[in-house]
Symmetry: C2
Subunit: 312 residues, 2 copies
């Protein structure tokens, strides 16, 4: 059998950050009990994941699904080697995160004014002005400080977001102390060639800075965008167990990339994730049971492919 | 803005063959009326499509959804420049297809014994033995003769299907008179590197033979497989309006690639299809109305992306 391919060399290993407990659940109508969240995160901790986004420290009246994040952190059974993270929009959120002993604090802001305004009720300049203080609080507590840049591949209000703007903003974020950047395709506007152009431009400007991608699948192209990103050497991705959540602007459309679907494709291509696909499927089924509805992920319906069964 | 990308050159134009009226509808529980089918095919004929798979000539008791294919062909308003095709398993089907004045007759067989047996109740050798007669009947009537090779990327019963076997079978099919080959990923077992390996091996052995791919999306990787195929120069694909049908082995999982989702991604990457995405969305909505349930396609839920709105 020939193994010739014109495909650029793919990475041999990828790190998946699980965002279901936060980005997934915050888009669900039903609010899971704290007990259920802890059970879900415990199950996810047994799958080989090294990073789980647990919750957020925002105003409870804005995101009631995340109101118990402090309690979840207090009660979850942490497993060594796993980073349990949370996102925060401001100084108050950072202080609460540190109090909850969060391993990695991720501040989020948007690459467009209107999305930042709608998301955190501040201008981009206001978000940036808070960053040094947030970074200082997190660093002094001995924790990781990261930044998530939303709508980096297009804004549902403003349309295209120029790559140069995203890079200029990235430079400011890195100068303000962001240890790691994540570019979010918050409403699923990325497409393969745009992903590659963005990553290559980022790499050219910041040759030594790693970049995580938080891709969505609003129009079915999520895994195509992953393939495109792999081809330009991206090795860190966000995804959500069961594919829940992530697309408030497209009701009924899958939003977040599904962790099992992503893992399935990576394993088929021989790319290591360190994840146990069967255990992920168990977690997705547990989640389905907790939510009381079918999740958008497809592998949970189609099953693991025969050629992966033994090694999944 | 940089336009640098490491992506192999993509084709500038792609031809999509619409299979919803056959491969889609035959997997629906509800049987559409002949009138509805004709309305749907008429709507699809206004979208810029150049090839529509209308139905099949198989035993009505096996696929009752396709029992009226002769009547559909008799009554449909054909638009010049569009190929209206049908699939057949044997000589009897071919004779009925010619009587119905089908533009292109596609004989189907499987790349695995057990799938061929389960699908057409014959061995692969028996299917092959019928082919010269089917080809003769079709050619003498002045029509196109094509072959669809199912489970070319893996069989749900037998697992992996070796590429060498697929190529050996292809050689026999071409020698027996197949004018065009389509490789079907009938149950969604393809993945990007397998697609590329298969296409490149095919190209090496049959340098002047075009190849159409019928890809599925059972585990979310459909458009990733398309991207992989585009990167090795494939320009002919099957897809199904609304993403209906195509995966009897995975209930609830999307099977066929969705025509609107595929077109959306291609247009985003600047690849021409000749299709009017808005008109496709209208057809998908019409279909949803006829079927009385939501279709699996995602663009119909998420909407056309802002950056495509004007030129979709």
């Amino acid at each position: 059998m020939t193994t010739k391919t014109s495909m650029p060399t793919l990475p041999s290993r990828v790190i998946i950050r699980e965002v279901g407990p936060r980005d997934g659940l915050q888009n669900e109508d039903a609010i899971l009990s704290t007990d259920d969240k802890i059970r879900l995160i415990y199950a996810l901790s047994q799958t080989g994941l090294s990073h789980i986004e647990v919750g957020s420290f925002v105003r409870p009246q804005n995101v009631p699904q995340m109101a118990d994040t402090s309690e979840v952190f207090a009660r979850l059974q942490r497993r060594e080697g796993i980073i349990y993270s949370a996102i925060v929009p401001n100084v108050k959120g950072a202080l609460r995160a540190i109090e909850a002993d969060v391993d990695s604090v991720m501040m989020f802001l948007s690459a467009s004014e209107s999305h930042n305004q709608s998301n955190v009720n501040m201008s981009v300049a206001q978000s940036l002005s808070l960053m040094p203080e947030v970074a200082r609080i997190v660093r002094e507590a001995g924790k990781w400080f990261e930044v998530v840049l939303s709508v980096a591949f297009g804004c549902p209000f403003e349309g295209d977001v120029p790559i140069t703007y995203v890079l200029d903003l990235s430079e400011r974020l890195l100068n303000l102390g962001a240890g790691q950047l994540t570019f979010g395709d918050t409403t699923g506007m990325a497409y393969p060639t745009l992903v590659q152009r963005t990553v290559l431009a980022f790499r050219e400007r910041f040759p030594n800075q790693s970049l995580r991608l938080h891709l969505h699948s609003a129009r079915g192209a999520g895994l195509a965008n992953i393939l495109a990103a792999l081809q330009v050497g991206v090795t860190e991705f966000d995804s959500s167990i069961g594919g829940i959540g992530g697309c408030p602007f497209a009701p009924g459309a899958p939003g977040n990339l599904c962790t099992e679907d992503l893992t399935h494709m990576l394993h088929e291509m021989g790319i290591e994730t360190g994840l146990d696909l069967h255990a992920l499927m168990d977690s997705a089924r547990m989640l389905e049971h907790m939510l009381g509805h079918v999740v958008p992920g497809q592998t949970i319906k189609a099953g693991i492919c025969k050629h992966l069964e033994k090694t999944a």
